[in-house]
């Protein structure tokens, strides 16, 4: 058992990569075999990841399932993996969404082998990001995962795919290279202060909280901003969001699912894991600006979503809005806010993932996503309409479903700290009802106005298979929220104690004002 526990993260992370390697040797003509193989590998990875939940100790606040080996010892770079209550469900979300995304790719016909190869590599990259406890390793996964996503958008995407793929890579890179500089700088600052040159997240964190590594305000500000911009672009926080609609619209369905479902979470995860505990003073200092941007993003994303003629673009902008809630929750520094944010990360992954899958279903039938092209789908596709309704309501945040819990907790956390922001953000919830229901109404209800829609067929078996797990989760997360919140408690409490408001912050704050 010890062997499994100390290697399970490696297994979960690299099973897909191994599968990708094996896929290389598949003959080009056996497209279907390649897809089935990819599906089996991703389901295997999911089953392995279930071990993580089954043996997770909810009372422990530290990292579990640790792996610690030397990688480039002369530089203090280790192969360190571990998860806590914050990353546990994000890993599971990734391993769950990947097989569903692979199912959603059943109708991919062009260069099938390469497509699934990149899907599996993407999974390895994302899981690696959530598990890394070494800053260097984290950065490696963070960057490596760009490559498969770049290909997924650029090769199998829509009309303007090349533009979108390039924009996606360049935006993300622009943010993350500065993070690399900050990581190296942190490495030296820690090395000079403690004498131990290491990229280990925990050791650096311990040095900061043990008082051994004291960052000058100007240095901490630079480091904080370098990390934060990388994460903010990924989230994406307003005004760094312009890459997202392009990437989403052009990406194939499965790409959008993973992009919205897990890739965006890497940004908010980074804020929780790195920005807050490593730079608590600056987190508090910048929190007012950040929450302001988050609130602007919530309202702006919702308003823009309202006027979108394209369903995928609408969902993309709704992501900007929903991700704003997550950032708002994180920077409330309250247990409710942070837990709500993490819950919302999962819930957004499930709901938006499902929405993209649903949009993909009718796109594959009609090759258009324009809302005006549809109408009255309930007549031809009753099951589809029912599924769509559930997901729409969950995305709006109807009590009893997943969306409600996260948003409610975030708002609860925010109200206690900053009432005006809470009020404005709550308006975002109402706006989300407006654009989602309006879209639903125009697409599903009414009479069939477009003749082309008369021949539509309802969901087929693989489409049901990819949607039902998510529908199930929507209710599970909404009703038994505690199953998900409970394992977070200890880790969130520890995170907040590390981030805790300190008196020193007020002492340095005036000096930092420009």
């Amino acid at each position: 058992m010890d062997f499994i526990n100390s290697n399970i993260l490696t297994i979960v992370t690299f099973t897909p990569a191994l599968g990708a390697l094996l896929l290389l040797f598949f003959p080009r003509s056996r497209a279907k075999t390649a897809r089935n193989f990819a599906l089996i590998i991703s389901i295997l990875a999911f089953l392995f990841s279930l071990h993580l939940v089954a043996h997770f100790d909810s009372n422990a606040s530290g990292f579990q399932y640790r792996t610690d080996r030397a990688w480039i010892p002369s530089f203090g770079i280790g192969y360190q993996l571990g998860i806590d209550g914050i990353s546990l469900f994000l890993v599971l979300l990734t391993t769950l969404l990947t097989p569903l995304a692979i199912l959603a790719s059943t109708r991919i016909r062009d260069r099938v082998k390469e497509y699934f190869l990149f899907m599996l590599l993407l999974e390895t990259g994302v899981v690696g990001v959530f598990c890394s406890l070494d800053l260097f390793l984290f950065y490696v996964f963070w960057e490596v995962m760009l490559v498969p996503m770049y290909f997924l958008i650029g090769v199998w995407g829509g009309e303007r795919r090349i533009y979108a793929a390039m924009k996606f890579v360049l935006y993300t890179m622009a943010g993350s290279v500065l993070m690399l500089v900050a990581i190296i700088a942190l490495y030296f600052l820690n090395g000079k202060a403690t004498g131990a040159y290491t990229f280990s997240y925990e050791l650096i964190l311990a040095a900061i909280h043990g008082g051994k590594l004291v960052l000058e305000p100007a240095t901490e500000r630079f480091l904080f901003l370098a990390f934060f911009v990388a994460f903010a672009i990924k989230v994406p926080l307003f005004p760094f969001h312009t890459w997202l609609p392009d990437a989403h619209v052009e990406a194939p369905t499965a790409g959008s699912v993973l992009l919205a479902g897990v890739l965006l979470k890497m940004g908010t995860y980074g804020m929780l894991r790195f920005s807050l505990p490593l730079f608590p003073n600056m987190s508090h200092l910048f929190a007012p600006f950040i929450t302001l941007l988050a609130v602007v993003g919530i309202i702006y994303g919702a308003l823009v979503a309202m006027v979108q003629p394209d369903m995928k673009k609408l969902v993309a902008y709704s992501s900007v809005s929903h991700m704003g809630f997550i950032v708002l929750g994180i920077f409330s520094f309250t247990p409710q806010g942070v837990e709500g944010a993490i819950f919302q990360m999962l819930s957004h992954g499930v709901s938006t993932g499902a929405l993209f899958l649903l949009v993909g279903v009718i796109y594959e039938r009609r090759h258009t996503r324009l809302i005006e092209e549809f109408g009255g789908l309930a007549h031809r596709m009753p099951l589809y309409a029912a599924f769509f309704l559930i997901v729409t309501l969950s995305s709006i945040g109807l009590p009893g479903m997943n969306g409600f819990v996260g948003e409610f907790l975030v708002l609860l956390g925010t109200f206690g700290v900053n009432k005006p922001r809470g009020v404005v953000a709550a308006a975002g919830v109402i706006l989300s009802a407006v654009y989602m229901l309006w879209m639903f109404q125009r697409v599903i209800w009414g009479e069939i106005t477009n003749e082309k829609n008369r021949t539509l067929t309802d969901l087929v078996s693989y489409e049901k298979a990819m949607l039902i797990p998510l529908l199930f989760l929507i209710f599970w997360m909404g009703i038994y929220s505690n199953h998900f919140l409970r394992p977070m408690d200890a880790s969130v409490a520890r995170l907040l104690s590390q981030t805790g408001k300190r008196e020193i912050q007020y002492a340095v704050a005036p000096a930092l004002q420009p």
Partner: protein
């Protein structure tokens, strides 16, 4: 006058290369026209023999031949880089020369002489020796650049390289003369000792150092002395371009680092700020101009300028870690870039017909293997984790942050993002566009397969497990910085 003791082992690799080079030239008239390629394999055997000769050389550490020649880890490290470069270049050229109907074995002789020149440069402990190595390298390379005699562009390339190269050699020689005037010596260690005493005309030394700096900046093609590069690289035969983009560049840096770190540490604060500016300017110009290139050879020329900028960043750190990172980067860059040029050689067809980036459209659909390899090399040049390029850049930026060059580092990483654009643009062409050209007639001969294999394995090895090579480059850097 004492005749210094002859120690042939200490110069064995260079000696082997020179002898094999002469042998190839002498044997040429006696070999049948259809069998000239055999001499190429002979040259390759010579390179491998020289590689083996590194062992006896490394047993003879120390200074030899009246302190003209030094055998240390730094020199040995560069020997390995240069011989690898020569070997891969020969493998890439074997088929190329036949295809282009310029199968004259002098090509291999010249290549071996050029490599011998580079070996002399890395082991030179004396400015005259540096100059001799530099000239042996340069003259051979001038001819190589113009090797396609009937081609106008190749001629232009050779002439431009020759004219500007002679200029820079003159600068270097002038610098040597001035430093001799000021310090009374051309030996690097003696110069450093003379500089420590205050009784000399420091202005003269500054002037000398400045002249040498300009000459070496020209050789390694860093801004603002890079203008010749694109034209020369575009016109030269493709394998030669590959060779020039890594070989003379690495040799230039070998001398650059050795001379300035050994002879002029006393005035380091003066020249290091110039290197700082050169590095910043080079990274910006190289990367930004590369974006707008439509010819892949020109694009790679500008990218090689940009990479020289990154090496200059490591140099500007002025520390042991910086030198170590520079050495590592040169090896990583050499393997990656030679790999990229090997693919370009295969795809360019006769007379460089297809060297526009748009000619690469749809390559992945027709030749997935070649496209995947080129993608690996391009990602490595761009610096994606898991490849040699990333390890190299990481080590460089690590050393520059350590030395407090934060703004230079930021310029470096931001220009890296720019470079993503043009490297990925080729990937876009290969994977995301419909095929325009017919690729089915492409032959990939065994020699090129070996070259590609070496480059690809090296690129991934240095990317995933850089520890061993890094430790070695650190040892090498230590000996360069006494």
């Amino acid at each position: 006058m004492n005749i210094p003791p002859v120690n042939i082992s200490s110069i064995l690799p260079a000696a082997v290369l020179s002898i094999v080079g002469i042998a190839v030239m002498v044997a040429e008239p006696f070999v049948d026209r259809s069998k000239k390629t055999l001499l190429g394999w002979l040259a390759l055997a010579g390179v491998m023999a020289a590689m083996l000769a590194i062992y006896p050389m490394s047993e003879n550490r120390g200074q030899w031949y009246s302190n003209l020649w030094i055998v240390d880890d730094y020199n040995i490290f560069f020997h390995v880089i240069f011989l690898l470069i020569a070997g891969i270049t020969i493998l890439t050229s074997l088929d190329f020369l036949e295809r282009e109907e310029i199968n004259h074995p002098e090509f291999y002789s010249l290549l071996l002489f050029a490599t011998a020149g580079m070996l002399m440069m890395s082991g030179a402990n004396e400015l005259i020796m540096v100059f001799i190595g530099l000239e042996v390298l340069s003259i051979a390379t001038y001819v190589l650049a113009g090797f396609r005699r009937t081609d106008l562009k190749s001629n232009e390339s050779a002439l431009k390289y020759f004219l500007l190269g002679s200029f820079s050699s003159a600068f270097f020689l002038y610098g040597v003369a001035l430093v001799f005037g000021a310090t009374g010596s051309t030996n690097l260690i003696e110069i450093a000792e003379a500089l420590r005493s205050s009784s000399l005309q420091i202005t003269l030394v500054y002037l000398a150092a400045a002249l040498m700096l300009i000459a070496l900046c020209f050789k390694v093609a860093v801004a603002p002395f890079h203008i010749w590069t694109p034209d020369v690289y575009e016109g030269a035969p493709t394998p030669v371009t590959g060779f020039m983009s890594v070989g003379p560049k690495a040799a230039g840096f070998a001398v650059f680092i050795r001379v300035f770190m050994t002879a002029f540490p006393q005035i380091q604060d003066r020249w290091i700020s110039i290197i700082w500016m050169v590095a910043a300017l080079t990274m910006i110009l190289g990367n930004v101009i590369a974006v707008s290139q439509t010819n892949i050879k020109r694009m790679l020329a500008y990218s090689s300028i940009a990479h020289a900028g990154y090496i200059a960043v490591a140099f500007a750190s002025g520390s042991r870690r910086g030198v170590s990172a520079a050495l590592f980067y040169m090896l990583a860059y050499a393997l990656t870039n030679l790999g990229a040029f090997a693919v370009v050689t295969i795809l360019s067809r006769s007379e460089d017909k297809l060297t526009n980036i748009s000619d690469y459209a749809g390559l992945a659909a027709k030749r997935p293997g070649l496209a995947a390899l080129l993608t690996i090399f391009l990602l490595s040049l761009a610096g994606i984790p898991g490849t040699a390029g990333f390890s190299g850049k990481f080590f460089i930026f690590r050393s520059s942050v350590e030395s407090g060059l934060l703004s230079l580092t930021v310029i470096g990483v931001i220009t890296t993002v720019v470079s993503f654009y043009y490297y990925l643009y080729i990937v876009v062409q290969m994977y995301m566009r419909e095929p325009g050209e017919e690729f089915s007639d492409l032959r990939v001969p065994a020699s090129l397969k070996i070259a590609l294999l070496i480059a690809a394995i090296g690129t991934l090895y240095l990317g995933l497990l850089p520890t061993r090579v890094l430790d070695w480059s650190t040892t090498a850097a230590l000996t360069a910085l006494r």
